[in-house]
């Protein structure tokens, strides 16, 4: 909890001793505030804070923003590749059709006919393309940073630009395969 993190805590002391130290240490608080007086004396005259062994372990620290960010990107990848659809509708990983002439089984990667339907693998590959495009833009922003080495900036920039181009072209290809009448 946040307040516990803000206060620097040391070992819990028994209530009576705390009250005594408070009375001597804060003698400068000559306050007229009755609530304050109540607070200072009343709970501790009959309540003793329990000597619990429970303490918030000091290793519990908020994760860094970049850790949270990578977790969020993972969630985004799962959602946008249709993971919920896969769990509920349980489509096959990849579709198959039989070649009428030879009788061999040919795989079909993209579920034809509907906009709101997919096989598992096509969902994952499209999700990956979206994420690749996002990463491309992120790397392009990292390349603009003037405090990095020039070679690093150059490689970031080239990776970023190629990632965006590839992701966009592949996504357009996927959607054209899936929906034959796209943009026509």
């Amino acid at each position: 909890m946040c307040p516990a993190m803000r206060t620097k805590s040391d070992n819990p002391t028994p209530g009576a001793a705390a009250a005594a130290t408070a009375a001597t240490a804060s003698s400068d608080l000559d306050s007229f505030d009755p609530v304050l007086l109540l607070l200072r004396f009343l709970p501790y005259s009959f309540l003793r804070p329990p000597r619990t062994r429970l303490r918030l372990p000091s290793s519990v620290v908020l994760p860094s923003p970049m850790t949270v960010f990578s977790l969020l990107l993972l969630t985004y990848f799962a959602v946008v590749s249709g993971l919920v659809y896969d769990v509920i509708v349980e489509p096959p990983g990849i579709g198959s059709t039989q070649d009428p002439a030879t009788g061999t089984v040919r795989p079909i990667v993209f579920l034809p006919g509907r906009v709101n339907g997919q096989y598992i693998i096509e969902g994952l590959s499209s999700g990956f393309m979206f994420l690749l495009g996002g990463f491309g833009l992120i790397f392009m922003d990292l390349a603009v940073d003037r405090h990095r080495a020039r070679s690093t900036r150059l490689s970031f920039a080239m990776f970023g630009i190629s990632a965006v181009v590839i992701a966009y072209l592949m996504t357009m290809l996927f959607i054209r395969i899936k929906i034959p009448g796209y943009l026509w």
């Binding site: 130290t21 607070l39 949270v68 985004y76 249709g82 969902g123 929906i179």
Partner: protein, 742 residues
């Protein structure tokens, strides 16, 4: 937020003079940079406003100005009632024309925001002496509010990032297909107004948290009231805002501004929400609203502890007090929650919202929710259709938000992620995610464009700095010397930096124009069909219009007695009441599952059993939708499995395996005998065995299923055919009175 380097710089003469040379003096007036910027911004916003309205007008231009789909007909009928009878009659309306023996308390079971809004617009226009019909106002309400949403998106973008991002956000959301799908002209549904209210509430709340002003907090409470009156999706706001407060508390961003904003919004918003009869006391009684109350108390505990810490001035004493207070608060809170849930005062999550958290729940327990096609989970292609390049820009926008974390960006990140998760669970909720995705993408676009233009405008180190800024020359030269002192590999521009940046800028322009083309194409092809009028391509490429639905409803209106009762599947109830003006047995409100199951049972029983049920419900006419002649695939035979499932869910007489052959529903020779003789089959295929539908196929060939039907010789004993539309899409049968007893 605020001005960053690159946007509206303070007036510095040399760059300003190079910029003003592009803008010739207007009437001898030289516009300063700030005025130019204002002119650009206002004109962009005006163009975006008009664009958002114009792109939604496809179906009005192609067909005519009419209401689409099913639900909007109910909204239209209630708005008509409101404008004719006044607000008090509307608020106390008991409708005996639907759910036949039961009736429906309309005043207490609808969200009045949409109807009141349309009525207010109508009365305003009438006051200004524009003689419009209420139907035109209803048809154009959604595009009007979509335009208003773009303005709110501009201000929201300005709040979380800067005005450049706001402009991009307004432009993106104006044409985003995810939003257009539910707000075309003619789609007179709650969502058209609700998304505006949602974004407005969120913007006002974020503004309140940023400024800590009481006025903004109260405004957000009123925005929340408008949202509650408009749509049942307000539950999203009342859960997202407490979650946001919790995240701010956990990340150590508690402040007085947050305290003021949340307290005002929660208390006043809750009191205002209770004014809507449909919502009633749910804010204190329903499990879905308990998160907000819990966070409210948690915030009070935070404030109390903060104040105690401030007054005590003693860390050790405060720490012991902290532990006592926390123990008390947690025990009291959980005790209250436990008592509330045990006594049943706090109701658990309703099925509709619970199925969002556990998507498998609806499939097993609530067939009605599972049967709606909009409630299916989302595949990647639906996302792509509705968002296009925004799917790339979303992760990049998240990255930029995390780079510059503030209270506002944390909010937009949370809104974006929670709404994307819900959009993945249900296709319909892509609409709720659309504003968040547009805002986050606009941050990515704005930041990337800023980087690129910064690269283009950066002064090259090799060229002499003779033409540098006139003012602040000391600072400039000092910077220049400092830059020369830098180590060799740092701070040097990349090769061909300016050219590559210009090429990338053109690439960004290309991507955004592809987005615009995609959105226009999707709107034109996929989202502008009125659903009540069907269109198809004829043999020579011309368009063929099937207006059977309206033909049938008009026939009902003119050729049946005024108190006739129509039995049909619940999909068509609203349209029959609104256009046919007749009483129906069940309609789209689906509030009574047993009543729907009764109709389902009647449709799937043999004719004599169904006749008993129909007599008990006083049914005069039966209406079925049949797509066998035209190949229309959303007809009642394709929906038959839901009639069996829902009917069988309540009445164990209906057993689904009796209709199945090898696990599928068939209508050809190999179909189950119960299927070939049930009422729905007979009503759909009566006299169909004599019809030749396609050249080269035998008579009785069902074009929607692609098979020749099994039972061509259908004889009806208790019903007689009353009307079949010109393309056989709607068939109406009259229920014969019982035979005379001897």
């Amino acid at each position: 937020m605020g001005a960053k380097a690159g946007s509206s710089p303070p007036v510095v003469p040399p760059p300003a003079s190079s910029a003003t040379s592009f803008f010739p003096s207007i009437n001898g007036l030289k516009l300063k940079t700030k005025q130019q910027e204002l002119l650009i911004r206002v004109s962009i916003l005006a163009l975006v406003y008009v664009l958002a309205f114009a792109i939604r007008l496809f179906s009005v231009l192609r067909y005519e100005s009419m209401i689409h789909e099913f639900d909007p007909y109910f909204n239209y009928r209630t708005t008509l009632f409101l404008t004719e009878k006044g607000f008090y009659e509307f608020w106390n309306w008991f409708d005996f024309e639907s759910w036949y023996p039961l009736g429906r308390i309309i005043g207490g079971t609808l969200y009045p925001g949409l109807m009141v809004t349309a009525a207010l617009i109508y009365w305003t226009l009438r006051f200004l002496r524009f003689a419009v019909h209420i139907r035109e106002v209803c048809v154009l309400t959604a595009p009007f509010f979509a335009s208003n949403t773009t303005i709110v998106a501009y201000f929201f973008g300005k709040e979380i990032w800067d005005s450049g991002a706001g402009l991009v956000a307004a432009a993106l959301i104006a044409i985003c297909p995810g939003y257009i799908s539910r707000s075309v002209a003619g789609s007179y549904d709650n969502e058209g107004v609700a998304i505006f209210a949602l974004l407005l509430t969120f913007y006002l709340f974020v503004k309140a948290v940023n400024t800590g002003s009481l006025a903004w907090a109260l405004a957000s409470a009123f925005g929340y009231f408008y949202m509650v009156s408009a749509w049942g999706g307000y539950v999203f706001i009342i859960n997202l805002v407490p979650l946001y407060v919790l995240v701010l508390l956990v990340t150590g961003r508690y402040s007085m501004r947050l305290y003021i904003a949340y307290n005002c919004m929660y208390v006043l918003g809750m009191l205002l929400a209770m004014q809507i009869r449909f919502v009633g006391f749910q804010h204190v009684q329903s499990g879905e609203h308990m998160a907000a109350m819990g966070v409210f108390f948690l915030l009070q505990v935070f404030y109390f502890l903060d104040w105690v810490k401030f007054t005590l001035n003693d860390p050790k004493l405060f720490y012991s007090f902290l532990r006592i207070a926390l123990t008390c608060a947690i025990s009291v809170g959980s005790l209250a929650l436990g008592v509330g849930m045990a006594t049943g005062y706090i109701s658990p999550w309703t099925g509709r919202f619970y199925s969002l958290l556990d998507p498998t729940y609806a499939k097993d327990h609530i067939p009605i929710i599972a049967s709606v096609s909009e409630h299916q989970p989302t595949a990647w292609s639906s996302f792509m259709f509705d968002f296009h390049i925004l799917l790339f820009l979303f992760p990049a926008g998240l990255y930029f938000c995390f780079k510059r974390l503030s209270d506002a960006t944390i909010f937009i990140v949370m809104y974006g992620l929670t709404s994307m998760y819900f959009a993945g669970v249900m296709v319909r909720l892509i609409l709720v995610a659309a504003p968040a995705v547009c805002l986050i993408s606009s941050i990515a676009v704005s930041a990337t464009l800023k980087n690129l233009t910064m690269l283009i405008r950066a002064k090259n180190n090799a060229t002499p700095m003779g033409s540098s800024k006139g003012t602040a020359s000391l600072k400039a030269s000092a910077k220049l010397i400092f830059m020369h002192f830098q180590a060799s590999s740092f701070d040097q521009p990349l090769p061909y930096q300016r050219n590559v940046a210009i090429a990338l800028l053109l690439g960004a322009f290309y991507l955004l124009s592809r987005y615009a083309i995609h959105c226009t194409w999707v709107t034109s092809e996929a989202y502008s069909s009125p659903s009540i009028v069907l269109a198809a391509r004829g043999a020579h490429g011309g368009r063929v219009i099937f207006d059977d639905y309206r033909e049938a409803y008009f026939w009902l209106r003119k050729n049946t007695p005024a108190d006739a009762k129509i039995m049909s599947w619940w999909d068509y109830g609203y349209q029959i009441t609104a256009m046919g003006n007749r009483t129906v047995i069940v309609d789209n409100n689906t509030w009574n599952n047993t009543h729907i199951a009764t109709v389902g049972r009647a449709m799937s029983s043999y004719e004599d059993e169904a006749y008993d049920i129909m007599k008990s419900l006083d049914v005069d006419y039966v209406l079925v939708v049949f797509g066998g002649v035209t190949g229309y695939s959303s007809d009642d035979i394709n929906k038959f499995l839901w009639m069996v499932r829902i009917g069988g869910g309540v009445f164990s007489v209906i057993k689904e395996p009796e209709y199945l052959v090898n696990g599928e529903y068939r209508v050809d020779k190999g179909a189950a005998p119960k299927m070939l003789n049930c009422l729905m089959y007979k009503l759909c295929y009566y006299r169909f065995g004599e019809v030749t539908t396609e050249y080269g196929k035998p008579p009785g060939y069902d074009r929607a299923r692609g098979v020749e039907i099994g039972n061509k010789d259908v004889k009806l004993e208790y019903l007689e055919e009353a009307f079949t539309t010109s393309n056989w899409i709607i068939r109406i049968y009259k229920v014969k009175p019982p035979k005379n007893r001897w």
